[in-house]
Amino acid sequence: MSGADDPTPNKPDPGSTHRDTRGKNADRPGMPGPAPEERPHPEGRRNSQGIRIDPAVEAEHEPRRATISALVEDEPGVLSRVSGLVSRRQFNIESLTVGPTTVEGHSRITMVVEESDPGIDQIEKQLAKLKPVISVGELHDDAVSAELVLLKVRGEEPDKVHAITEMYGGQTLDAGPRTITVQLTGDEQKIDDAIDAFEQFGIIEIARTGQTALSRGDTQTVPGEEPGTSGEPTSHATDVGETTQQPYHDP
C-alpha cells in the first residue's frame, strides 16, 4: 500500500505505542505448503452472475424490461412486504400497481422491472416466498398492458388541447380559464408520445399510475390462476383495505 492510497492519512504511525503484532507476524513462517503462485489453477471462470463462461466469449445477461404479476392475499402490510423485498434486494423496479381482483381477499400486484434474466428469476422466486403471495409469473411480450395518466396543462389554447386529447383517445376531466386536466390511458409508447405532444402547452403537473397488465387471450396471468371462477366477484362497494390502492377510478 502506498502512502497515496492510505485511507487514514492523518493517523500517526501507532507502531511505537502499540504492540507491533505486524512485525511479529512478518517474521513468522505461516502454515506449510506451496505458495499461491506455485499452485495449479484451472483456466475456467464464471461471470458475475455465477455462470461458467468461455473466457473467449464473456457473456452476461443484459438487463431487460419485464412485467411481473403477483396474486396476493389482501392482508395488512402486504404492499410493504413486497416493496421492502424489492428495496432490500436492490431489484430495479420501474412501477408497481395494486388492486383487487374478482376474488374476495385477493389483490393483483403488477410490477415492471428492469433486470437481467437471473435477476428476474430471483424476483419471482423471492416474491413467491412471501407468505401472502399466492402465485407469481412473468407476462409474455404480447400481454395487454395499460397505464393511466392525468395531465394538467396550461389552458391558453383549449381547442388545441382538446384536439390532441381526442387524437390520443383521452378525456378532459377539468377545464378552466388557466388549466385543463386530461386523462389518458394506453401502453407505454402511447403515453410517452402523448406526453411529448402535450409539452407544447406547458405541462404543469402530471400523475401516472404505472403499467398494469393481463395476459392476452385465455392464457392465465399468473400460474394456477382460475379466471373469475375461484370465488365471489369483488363488489365495487368492497373496502379494499388499508394496504392496497385502486390504480384508477372511472371518471
Binding site: 503484532t21 512478518a26 499452485r39 475456467g44 461458467r52 430471483q122 407468505k131
Partner: protein, 623 residues
C-alpha cells in the same frame, strides 16, 4: 421453577365480553380432537403428559391461548425477559409446563432460543416485551434468519388502540423485523391469537427453517376468550415436496457417474434436514470426497478418510484446492455465501454444479446450478443414491485430494519464546471431551480456531453464528445448548463455549443465567486483548494501524466469573492447560477459563475477500 405446576383453573372466568374483533371467525367450541392431533406425535415422552393436559385446558384469556398453543406445539423451554406489554403472557406461563429461562438481556434470549433449536432440532422460543425488548431481540432474529434456524419470537405490544400513537415502549416491531423474519404476525384478535402462535411456531420449521414473530398487543392477550387454539399447522402452501423431479435426478446421476473429479459440498441444510446419514452413505457408496461449509460442520465426520473438512475463507487448504479443481460439485443445502465462494468468478470454475436445496430461490442465486434438485436434502440424496448405477472413476482424484492433505496440513508452531497458542487449547479440549460434546462460539479468530482445530464428527455439535457473524453469540448459545441437552436427558453431554475476549464481554451478563440455572458449561476465553480478527486485517491491509481493535485492558475474567458465582481460572502456560481443562470439565456448574493466548497469532489459511479459493494465503506475506 417450582411455581410452574400450580393450577389456574380457579382463575377461569366468564365468557368473553367485548374483546373479539369484528371480522374474526365466529367462536368454535373447544375441540378435543384438534388438540389431540397436535400432541399425538410426542406421546411417548413422559414430559408430554403435562403438555397434553395443559393443551386440553380451555384458555380464558388471549395470553393463556398463546401459552396453550406453545404447549400444543410441543415447546418445552422458552427464553425471555419480562416487561410491561408482555406481562399477561408471562402470567399465563406461571401455570404452564413450558420451562421459562429468564435471560439477562433479550439478545441473549434470542440467541439461547436459536441455539436450543439448533441442538434440539425443534423451534426455539423467545419472549420479550414491546419497544426495547423487541428491538433487543432483533440481532438474534437476524442471526437466526441468516443461518435458517427455526425460531419463534413472541413480543409484547402496546394496546391496539395506542398503536401508532408513539405510546410508551412502542416500536413498529412488525416493520422492524419484517426483513429478518420468514413472516411476522400482528395478533389482531383474542380468539385467534392462539391459532396465530401455533401457525408461527409450525411455519418456522416448515420447509427452509427460519424465524417467525408474533406481535402481541396487550389488549389481545388480556382479552377474554374460551377458544382452544387450533393444532399448530403451517400456513397453506408452505409445505414443500421433499422429492426432486425424477428426470432431473436422473440427469444429475449421469453427470456424477461421468465425473472425474466429483466433490460433495455439504451445507447447514444437511444438518437441518437430519440427513447426515444419507450424506455419509452417498459419499461412501460412490467414493466421493467431501467438503462442508461452516454451518455444515458436523454433517460429515471430519475424521473420515473422505473428509476434506470445511471450505471457504478460513477453511482448510485441501478443501479449497478440491473445490477449485472439481469438475462436478454436488452442493447440498448451501446458499453459496461469499465467505465460502470467495470471488464468484474463480469459484469451482470448471465444475458442473448439482445443487440440492429446499428453497428454489437459492437455485442460481449466487452460483449457477446446472442441475437444480429442489427438495429436502435427505430425500433427494436418497433419490440420487438410487439413481446412480456406476460409481464415478475418481481414484486418481481421491489420491490428489489426499496429496493436498499432505501438502497443506493444518498445523501451528509453538516456539518457546512465544505465548500460549489458541490452537493448542482447542485441541486439548477436543482431546479431553467426548465426540458428542457441543461447541458454541462467538465470532472472530477464536471461532475460526474452534472450527479448524476441533474434529467434529456428529451433527448438531457445532453451534455458531455464521451468516450474520454476531459477536457475543457464544455465551447465550451455550445456555440454550445446555438446556436443549438437559431437556433431552443428555445431562452428561459436555457443552464448551469458545469465546474471544471481545465477544465474551458483549454478552458476559448471561453468565448470571448459567449460574442461576446451575448449567454445566465450560467457557474457554481465548483472550488476546484484541478484537483479534480486526487486528489481523489491520496488520494485513491497513499497515498495522490498530484503530479501535486493541483493548489494552481487559477485566480478569477468572475473577469476574467468581463474582458471578461461577468457577474461574486463568491460564497462560502450556503446562497448566490440560489439568485446568480437566478441572473445569469436572466442575459441576458454569466455569470460565481465561486463556491468555499469543496476541500476535493469526488465522490461516485465508482467502482474502473476493479472492480465489485456490489462492489462499498461508502467511501474512502471501496476502
Amino acid at each position: 421453577m417450582t411455581t410452574r405446576d400450580e393450577p389456574t383453573d380457579s382463575e377461569e372466568t366468564a365468557a368473553a365480553t367485548g374483546s373479539a374483533d369484528a371480522g374474526e371467525p365466529t367462536h368454535e367450541p373447544p375441540s378435543d380432537a384438534a388438540t389431540d392431533g397436535g400432541t399425538a406425535a410426542a406421546e411417548a415422552d413422559a414430559a408430554e403428559e403435562t403438555t397434553e393436559a395443559a393443551a386440553t385446558r380451555t384458555p380464558t384469556t388471549g395470553a393463556e391461548s398463546v401459552i396453550a398453543a406453545l404447549e400444543a406445539a410441543g415447546a418445552e423451554t422458552a427464553f425471555g425477559v419480562q416487561g410491561g406489554a408482555i406481562m399477561p403472557v408471562y402470567d399465563a406461563l406461571y401455570a404452564s409446563s413450558v420451562h421459562h429461562v429468564t435471560m439477562a438481556h433479550e439478545q441473549g434470549a434470542a440467541h439461547a432460543a436459536d441455539a436450543y433449536g439448533v441442538v434440539s432440532g425443534e423451534t426455539g422460543v423467545c419472549l420479550a416485551t414491546s419497544g426495547p425488548g423487541a428491538t433487543n431481540l432483533v440481532t438474534g432474529i437476524a442471526d437466526a434468519s441468516m443461518d435458517s434456524d427455526a425460531l419463534l419470537a413472541l413480543t409484547g405490544q402496546v394496546p391496539t388502540e395506542l398503536v401508532g400513537n408513539d405510546a410508551f415502549q412502542e416500536t413498529d416491531t412488525i416493520g422492524v423485523t419484517a426483513p429478518v423474519t420468514k413472516h411476522n404476525y400482528f395478533a389482531s384478535g383474542t380468539d385467534t391469537v392462539g391459532d396465530t402462535v401455533g401457525e408461527a411456531f409450525a411455519y418456522a420449521e416448515t420447509g427452509r427453517p427460519g424465524p417467525t414473530l408474533v406481535d402481541l398487543p396487550k389488549d389481545v392477550t388480556l382479552g377474554e376468550t374460551d377458544r382452544t387454539p387450533k393444532p399448530p399447522e403451517p400456513p397453506a402452501g408452505a409445505e414443500v415436496d421433499p422429492e426432486a423431479d425424477p428426470d432431473a435426478v436422473e440427469r444429475a446421476a449421469r453427470v456424477i457417474e461421468d465425473a472425474e473429479r466429483p466433490l460433495c459440498l455439504f451445507g447447514g441444510g444437511v444438518i437441518k434436514s437430519d440427513a447426515a446419514d444419507q450424506a455419509c452413505r452417498f459419499a461412501h457408496d460412490h467414493g466421493i470426497p467431501v467438503t462442508t461449509t461452516m454451518p455444515g460442520i458436523g454433517s460429515f465426520p471430519e475424521n473420515d478418510p473422505l473428509s476434506l473438512s470445511w471450505a471457504g475463507m478460513h477453511g482448510t487448504g485441501y478443501a479449497n484446492m478440491a473445490i477449485t479443481h472439481t469438475d462436478c460439485l454436488i452442493a447440498v443445502g448451501t446458499r453459496f455465501d461469499d465467505r465460502l465462494t470467495g470471488g464468484i468468478e474463480t469459484f469451482a470454475p470448471e465444475a458442473e454444479v448439482i445443487h440440492i436445496d429446499i428453497d428454489p430461490a437459492e437455485i442460481s442465486k449466487n452460483v449457477h446450478a446446472d442441475h437444480p434438485l429442489i427438495g429436502d436434502a435427505g430425500s433427494v440424496l436418497e433419490q440420487l443414491i438410487a439413481a446412480i448405477d456406476d460409481d464415478p472413476d475418481a481414484e486418481a482424484w481421491r489420491d490428489r485430494c489426499a496429496d493436498w492433505k499432505e501438502e497443506y496440513p493444518m498445523t501451528y508452531a509453538m516456539p518457546e519464546d512465544e505465548p500460549l497458542k489458541p490452537q493448542f487449547v482447542v485441541e486439548a479440549f477436543d482431546e479431553a471431551t467426548d465426540d458428542d460434546t457441543i461447541v458454541t462460539t462467538g465470532v472472530g479468530q477464536h471461532q475460526m480456531w474452534a472450527a479448524q482445530f476441533w474434529t467434529y464428527t456428529e451433527p448438531r455439535t457445532w453451534v455458531s453464528s455464521h451468516g450474520l457473524g454476531t459477536m457475543g453469540y457464544g455465551v447465550p448459545a451455550a445456555v440454550g445448548a445446555r438446556l436443549a441437552a438437559d431437556t433431552a436427558g443428555d445431562t452428561d453431554r459436555d457443552v464448551v463455549c469458545f469465546d474471544g475476549d471481545g465477544s465474551f464481554l458483549m454478552t458476559i451478563q448471561e453468565l448470571s443465567v448459567a449460574v442461576r440455572e446451575d448449567l454445566d458449561i465450560t467457557f474457554a476465553v481465548l483472550n488476546n486483548e484484541y478484537i483479534g480478527m480486526v487486528r489481523q486485517w489491520q496488520d494485513a491491509f491497513f499497515e498495522g494501524r490498530h484503530m479501535a481493535s486493541e483493548y489494552e485492558w481487559m477485566p480478569e475474567f477468572d475473577k469476574l466469573a467468581e463474582a458471578f458465582g461461577a468457577k474461574g481460572w486463568a491460564v497462560s502456560e502450556y503446562d497448566a492447560v490440560a489439568d485446568t481443562i480437566e478441572a473445569a470439565l469436572a466442575y459441576d456448574g458454569p466455569s470460565v477459563i481465561d486463556f491468555r493466548i499469543d496476541p500476535a497469532e493469526n488465522v490461516y489459511p485465508m482467502v482474502p475477500s473476493g479472492g480465489a479459493n485456490g489462492k489462499f494465503a498461508l502467511s501474512e506475506e502471501q496476502l
